[in-house]
Amino acid sequence: MVQKRIVLALVGLAACSHDTARTVTFGAAGPFSQAYGLANKQGIQLAVDEINASPAWGTTRRLSVQFADDSGNGVRASSVAQSFVNSPRIVAVVGHVNSGAMVSAAHVYDQHLAAVATTATSPALTGISPWTFRVIPSDSANGQTIARFINARGRKRASVLYENNPYGRGLAENFKRSFAGTIISIDPIGEDSAQRFEPFVTWFKKQKPDVVFIAGTDASGLAFLKEARRQNLDADLVGGDGWQTVAPSPLAEGVFVGAPFSAQDPRPEVRAFVTAYSRKFNSIPDGNAALAYDATKLLAHAVEQVGPDRVKIREYLANLTETSAFHGVTGAIRFRPDGDPIGKGIVMTRVHEGAMQLEATK
């Protein structure tokens, strides 16, 4: 009888070591059908491949990621978050991608599961839960950097279009706060490509602003650029980190983009990342990919340090210091007690022939 039990126990252990004990699972959520969502997903996939090939993981564990599309929508995001929390094998979450989605999901993750948002920049996320972190600086920092860049270029009259969601409102609000000139209009737009920009561009042609700042993402951005090019709008066109995926389009030639990452960064780890990403996906990585890649590697590093335990992973993330900071392709990562990253910013780039060229701050 005793022997039989031991055999059963051994069988149980063996089963564990194949399925649960050796495979570590992260959840990942974002609007993966959107271009910036896809960039996030690809950054995560590249990180997973590299982690599973690394000597630290290769023999002892395997990392797998369960992707869930939240469409960037708060309602969908909170139900995705709830399913992650309810699944015991998921030990941490990469994402969400959008600010609005993350604001809704943060309440679900609170006290249960650590989530590292990739590109959610809304100031509303600052301090929302001790269980949520983000690797991108908040819009308050990004809007400020973009506004100062435009001030430095001597532009005085600005029009603002913002996606009417927490990301767009947050970025626009913080741009408005730091812009030294006059804002002649500030209008909400949708997130999709099927909307009319003609009346806005016609209005801009009449009012002639020096600069049009669009706080939004790629779908709406490309629709706007199409209309602006059609009417030959003669103003500086500026986007935030949401516009990184606009860059490859020919419509984006000459557009200014504030990005948390530049593929032209000469640091060797960035070069290696850009090479590996280009080889795997046949495209140049943007900040979405780089931030998702860093968030995934950060969580994998946490698992190496403290094991696949939800509480310990959160504690590890909350207690990173200047010396123990994780060095990713977007810089050293550690967090303030409110979950925002310390010492990270965005760089200003200008699109030339589909690539974001670093723009010297004047």
Partner: protein
């Protein structure tokens, strides 16, 4: 349990203590529970109310902001007033901010979060339509603006429906909270009521139990007491009853028994007293008679005692003489001690001197012995000198013979030997001188030898005398030692005598004291005898009083006997 039965629960007092203790405990519990329940319920009410209040405030704020946004948006379309556009923007942003606040509140259900997110989306959509309509209106394209604003109005209807839905969700939340509070309150009041009911039932049981256990034994005891007061001392209460009553009952039982015994004893005693009183009267007369005989005997005792005192006084004087003699003995033995000490001291001093003299003698003896040895050596030297002188004398003789032969030869040689004859003659003279010198030396050594011999003799005799002196000195020392010992023994003996004399004196003193006390005792006897005499006379008088008292006693005991006879035992 049995301990409780015996020690606590078996007495009325114990039952009351336990009963009222439990009652007070239950009432305290009820009080605490009531207080706790009231505090808890009021806290929950306050918390729920403030939550409901702030949620209601936020919900109504959303509604208000949305309404104002819509109003400002339509106004701008009509008037193109820039303040209307600012109001449209500001109220829209405020509505988004309020929703963010609602979202950040704790304890939001999934349906609430979803409702808020939907409202936010609808509001955003409406704002976008209106923004487009405003720009179209700015461009003077009124028809298109109307189309855009009608799209916005479609959103408005949905938005208002969603706000109403949120209101319903909040109302349901309030109702649920109210339900919770009501059931909580009901639960606690039920608990409170049941505790109080329990206390009530328990109190009634305690009171009934106590009353029943007091009244029954009390009746029994009252009956018993009545029978006792009627003189029925044989009445007993044996029923089982609570502690205090059973103590009282057994006390009453014992009282009955004790009284019965007392009555019996009293009757017997009365009989005995009356017969004793008769005896007493006759005895006291006899005592009276013997007392007067005793008085005369005592007078004789008194005289005898005085005579004894006289005799004792004369013995005391004799003892006094003995004491003085003992004192003399003691003085003399002290003197002897003193003398013995002196002798001992002197003998010791002499012994020291003799020791010193002996030391000197030993030195002298060794000097004499050394001198004797030297004289021995001197004798040996003198005989060496004599031998040498004899050889010189022989040489001189032979030299003289030679010189004679040489003179003869020289004479025979004639002229040639004349010079040689002179030399021979000189040699002869020299031999003769040597002979004379040798003779002188012999003479001198003879004198020396004679002197040495006499010195040696003198030495021997002085050595002998020194030894003699030494022997005598040692004898003296031994004699002194013996004296010293004797003196010591004498002194110790004398001390012994002193001690004995003192002991003797104190014995005599004791004897004197004892005598004194005997004398006093004898005097006391005499006085006591006098007193006895006096008291005997008083006794005679008392005996007469006793006789009359025993007559009174006799009468009393007769009355007592009659009284006791009426009690039942």
């Amino acid at each position: 349990m049995s301990l409780l039965d015996n020690a606590q629960f078996n007495t009325i007092r114990g039952r009351l203590w336990i009963g009222f203790g439990v009652l007070v405990g239950i009432l305290l519990l009820a009080g605490f529970e009531a207080r706790r329940a009231l505090t808890g319920v009021s806290r929950e009410i306050v918390a729920s109310l403030s939550e409901v209040e702030s949620e209601a405030a936020l919900t109504s704020q959303v509604s208000a902001d949305v309404a104002k946004t819509i109003e400002a948006a339509s106004r701008y379309l009509d008037t193109r007033d820039s303040s209307a556009q600012s109001a449209f923007r500001a109220f829209g942003w405020a509505a988004h901010e309020v929703q963010r606040q609602m979202n950040s509140r704790p304890n939001q259900s999934a349906s609430e979060v979803a409702a808020i997110a939907t409202i936010d989306n609808k509001l955003s959509e409406m704002e976008i339509h209106y923004a487009l309509a405003h720009r179209l209106a700015d461009l003077g394209r009124a028809d298109e603006a109307r189309v855009a604003s009608s799209a916005a109005r479609r959103s408005i209807d949905e938005l208002l429906a969603d706000i109403a839905l949120l209101g319903r969700i909040k109302a349901e939340k309030v109702a649920a909270a109210r339900q919770d509070l009501a059931s909580e309150t009901a639960q606690r009041s039920d608990l409170l009521l049941s505790i109080i009911g329990l206390a009530l039932v328990f109190g009634i049981i305690v009171v009934m139990f106590t009353v029943r256990h007091i009244s029954e034994p009390l009746e029994l005891l009252v009956t018993h007491a009545k029978r006792l007061s009627d003189g029925d001392l044989a009445s007993r209460t044996d029923a089982s009853m609570p502690g205090e009553f059973s103590i009282l009952a057994s006390a009453m039982n014992q009282t009955g028994e004790s009284l019965s015994r007392v009555v019996n004893v009293a009757a017997r005693t009365a009989d005995e007293v009356s017969s004793s009183a008769h005896d007493l009267a006759s005895v006291s007369e006899q005592i009276s008679l013997s007392a007067s005989q005793m008085a005369s005997a005592m007078t004789e005792v008194s005289h005898g005692a005085e005579a004894t005192v006289h005799q004792l006084r004369s013995v005391d004087e004799t003892l006094q003489a003995i004491r003085e003699a003992a004192t003399g003995v003691r003085k003399r033995s002290d003197e002897v001690t003193h003398l013995a000490q002196n002798i001992e001291g002197a003998a010791q001093a002499k012994r020291v001197e003799i020791d010193r003299a002996l030391g000197i003698l030993v030195d002298v003896k060794s000097s004499v012995e050394r001198a004797a040895a030297e004289i021995g050596h001197l004798n040996a030297t003198v005989s060496d000198i004599n031998q040498f002188v004899q050889s010189v004398s022989q040489i001189a003789d032979q030299t003289n013979l030679l010189a004679l032969n040489a003179a003869i030869e020289a004479a025979r040689a004639g002229e040639a030997g004349r010079g040689f004859a002179v030399v021979a003659d000189e040699v002869r003279k020299l031999a003769e001188q040597s002979q004379r010198a040798a003779d002188d030396i012999v003479q001198m050594t003879t004198v020396v030898t004679a002197r040495v011999t006499s010195s040696a003799k003198a030495m021997e005799s002085s050595a002998g005398r020194v030894i003699e002196i030494e022997r005598v000195s040692r004898d003296i020392d031994a004699a002194l030692h013996t004296i010293s010992d004797a003196a010591e023994r004498t002194r110790i003996a004398a001390i012994g005598v002193t001690g004995a004399a003192e002991a003797n004196a104190s014995a005599v003193n004791h004897a004197a004291v004892s005598l004194e006390s005997i004398a006093k005792t004898a005097e006391g006897h005499a006085a006591a005898a006098e007193q006895v005499n006096a008291s005997t006379q008083q006794q005679s008088a008392a005996c007469e009083q006793m006789t009359s008292a025993s007559n009174v006693l006799l009468a009393g005991s007769t009355q007592l006997r009659q009284l006791v006879g009426t009690l039942k035992t």
